[in-house]
């Protein structure tokens, strides 16, 4: 029952693996993981929500902050593994304008070529 955001890297592709609950308490580990990817100068940040089934407003606010930071640094952001409900919420807050929503990791890899 992981509660923290983990990161992994494949060349310039950095993954943020989000836990089941994405809430205010996730912020610290999310930033720690994101900063590690930023240090490694990844060009693409892939947000993996396959394990997540609860994102509250604080959690979505956290995603907004991360996406804003990544966009400012010129990084592409992908998000996958979200249910239709959370895809709707991402759209409502304008996140879909700033990141690429894809169904799964493979689709993302296909699009990245």
């Amino acid at each position: 029952m992981a509660k923290e955001v983990n990161y992994r890297q494949e060349d310039s592709l950095g993954f943020l693996d989000f836990p089941r609950d994405v809430i205010a308490q996730t912020r610290e580990s999310a930033y720690a993981a994101y900063n590690q990817l930023a240090i490694q100068k990844v060009g693409v940040v892939a947000m993996n929500f396959e394990a997540s089934d609860y994102l509250n407003s604080a959690g979505i606010g956290l995603i907004i902050s991360l996406v804003e930071d990544a966009t400012r640094a010129g990084r592409k952001v992908y998000a996958y593994g979200l249910s239709s409900h959370y895809r709707k919420l991402f759209s409502m807050v304008g996140l879909t304008e700033r990141l690429k929503l894809v169904p799964n990791e493979q689709t993302m890899r296909d699009q990245l070529g």
Binding site: M1, Y54, N56, L62, E68, K88, M92, G94
Partner: protein, 978 residues
Amino acid sequence: MLRRIPLSVGAVIGVILIVGLIGGLTYFASARIGSTVLEQFRSQQLQVLTSVGQQTEAYFGELTLEGIQLAQRSEVQANAGSRVDPSKASILTSLIENDRVDVVKSVSRFNINGTLLYTCNIETTVNSSGQTVYLCHEFENDADTVDYSIPAELVAQTENQDQENIFEFEPVLYRVRHNELNSVSFNLLILPVEADTSVTQYLVYELNMEAIFADILDFVVDDLRTTDSGQLWVFDYEGNVTFSADSGRADGHHTSLSEYSESEIAAKRNGEPEAEAFVENGIDHQGAFVPADILGRKFLLVRSQHTDEAQAAVSSDLRIILIIAIATVLLLAAGSWVGIRRIFAERTRREAESGMRQTARSLLEVSRALNSSLELQTVLDRILIELQNLIPYYSASILLLNEAGLLEVSAHRGEDKEVHEGGAFRVEEARAAREVIARGHPVIINDTINDERWTQLPNSETRSWIGLPLRIFDRSVGVLNINSNIPIRFTMQDLELAEAFSDQASVALQNARLHDREVTRIEEELTVARGIQSSLMPSTPPESLHLDIAFASTPARQVSGDFFQLIPLNNGRLAIFVGDVSGKGMPAALIMAIMNTTLRDEVTRQTDPAELLNVLNERLLDRLLQNQMNSAMVAAFFDPATQTLGIANAGMVQPYLRTVDNSDWDFVDVGGYPLGASQRANYYGTNIAFIAGSMLILFSDGIIEAQNLRGEFFGFERFEALLESMPPDIDAHTAVDQIMQATRHHIGEEDLQDDITVMVIRALEVVEPSKPKVLTSSSPSVELPMLHLDIPQRDNGSDHRIISTHPERIAQNEGLLMPRENVELFIPSRLGFEKIARNAASALATEMGFSPDRIEDLKTAVSEACMNAIEHGNLEDRATSVNVLLSASPDHLEVRVEDRGRQYIPNPLPPPGGVDKSRGWGMFFIQNLMDEVEITKLPEGGNIVKMTIYLGMEEPTDNDTVADEPSADASEWIEQNE
């Protein structure tokens, strides 16, 4: 009278002794004067000068505050570059009002580049009526200027700031040189002033430091006038003498501290206050050195005096003090012969009055203390404690008649413990006590040795005794013994007092006896009930080849509302239940007993847990509603053939599961509201693979909500952390033990607030060949939908019943429409508990036939509303709760979330994603996901967020998911980032 004469004589002797002592001390003190007198001088001077240093700091603090207030006046701020009268008049008024016309020479204004804007020189004249008039004199033309400028470093510092914004700097004190003459300096107090253009400028006070210090040090200078050699200096932060004063009788031996180097002066300026001896021009001095912090700059105040003069002054002081002390004592001695008798007579009278008042007060306090408890033994012990305050005794005891007619020592206090070793004795053996009981009146024996009524017990030292009857409804039930080891100790006054006390004690005893009997009766009944209840629940887990099961349950009261059950079924299957009846004590236990009977009756007829819960709800609903109770219950059926667990949940905390392939704990996502809460509950279940090594934990909410003395819940975080710490191969018994211990450890000294129950089930490796598994090992926790619907119509084959308000479907809905049903929850004001409300809302919406998408919308909205209430409404005050009311109507579901509001939800709501783009989205989601939202501010404090979703309303699609456009701020954020 007899007692007063020795007192008078004693007082006279005391006075003589004091005079002798003073004389002796004087003799010894004189011998030590030489060595201590200078230390005393230094100490005095240091104290005086330190006080002066503090006054100096305060003076400059006030001056700065006045300057800041002046700078904030609108007429000063409004005239950034002008020399017009309002600004001048304001400056002059400020200086006159604050009596600063003598210490502030001028006030000038500079812009941020250091260019002079205007100045106001304070001038004093006398008018034709002879009155002093102050003027603010300006320069005649623009070519004129002041003789100083703003220090370059300050200009450089402020120029680097963003001039469009208000620049804030602290008021500073500067010593600056004359623009042309190096020998002339100015002391400037420079303050920030915000002009109407929002650009910071400088307001500069030119200070007359000598006048300031002469004012502050006035009384120290006066003191110097009386000395032959006193000196006073103030060194500024550059080491210059800002102020100095000498003795009024200068003898040509002035010191200048020339023996001290600049660095030594600087060290003292930055050090601690100190006093020391030093030699100057061959003459010994005593000096006090005190630093003063003025607007961040250290000044040094110094006071010195020749040593021989200082010694002479202090010695003189000491002699005067001694003379006064001796004279005072002699006066007292003389006065004692004349008036001491009268003084003692008056004191005795006052003591008597005071004693009576004290007695009355004590009796009142005794009454309060005795009646503050109903617990019998506590009352008895308190009687003896309070008695000691009224009538001091050697020992005291309370003898109560027991059912056998024996006098039983029920309480004892004092030193003669041997007396009551026997515990109980016959009334006939204690004749004195028998007399008290028989007569119902107090008895006093002041000579126990020679009084035939007294039976002296072995080792007893009692020489005087008072026996008081203790009565209940006018019947003597015991004796209060007051013992003294001194003969003829008690007076009639003591007896009267004891009788008054005895009446108070009897009332308390009567109440305690009644209470004790009532408690005993209830406890007996509860013990019987607990026995019955225990017999209904298994004492040991059933033997099983497939499962390792352990459980524990602790009631908050003697009888628990929690229950658990393990019922073997055919084909080796096992039905497992853990439940929690609302409320505690006897009512909960009775419902639990009914529940258990119904459960046993139905369990053999049903094949899966969800169906069983449906039937139980149907059968128990009326009874539960009648008693305004409900019961949560999680039901699990284990099938060894398939190694699966079917689980359904009626309002219990979701069970936790750890599988072999996934070492992380996860909860089993099944929910529903409690049995008895809804007329048409349709519970759903899930099937999970439960192969060897898997572990399931069922528990009551008493564990999560267990509170310690600080009001902290045990909570999900601690619970999950505990589960994470358990090794994969932990057995069920150890797991239960660890959970119970952790909960107990968390509660500490606090009483248990709710029953706590936990059951752990671990799947074992079975040696015998088992039947093929239905589920593959690669997906051990595949969830199989087990929704059971008794409603014929479905929506496009969906598993969820849809009750529509669409006209074509209204007819189909007939007969399905539910009356308005309420489910009410109170969740603690702690983040995380919003999930409980979310799950309850989800369960109810499922029942009503909302589509999965709409249920997700509802879950998010309910979560956000509860989080707002917890975090912003109740400020996470755990003493408060959030009230969630779910109201199901035929065509809509209304959710009302109410907090106890320390903060109001703003109306209108601020747009989300404002300054901090990550915040403020909660209410945005609620408004966009629900069909109707209403926010009400309660007059007594609190908010109600009412949200409604309608059945059959158009589902938002992915393309037009948002009814409203994102707020202006959200759009702005998108644009900014594009």
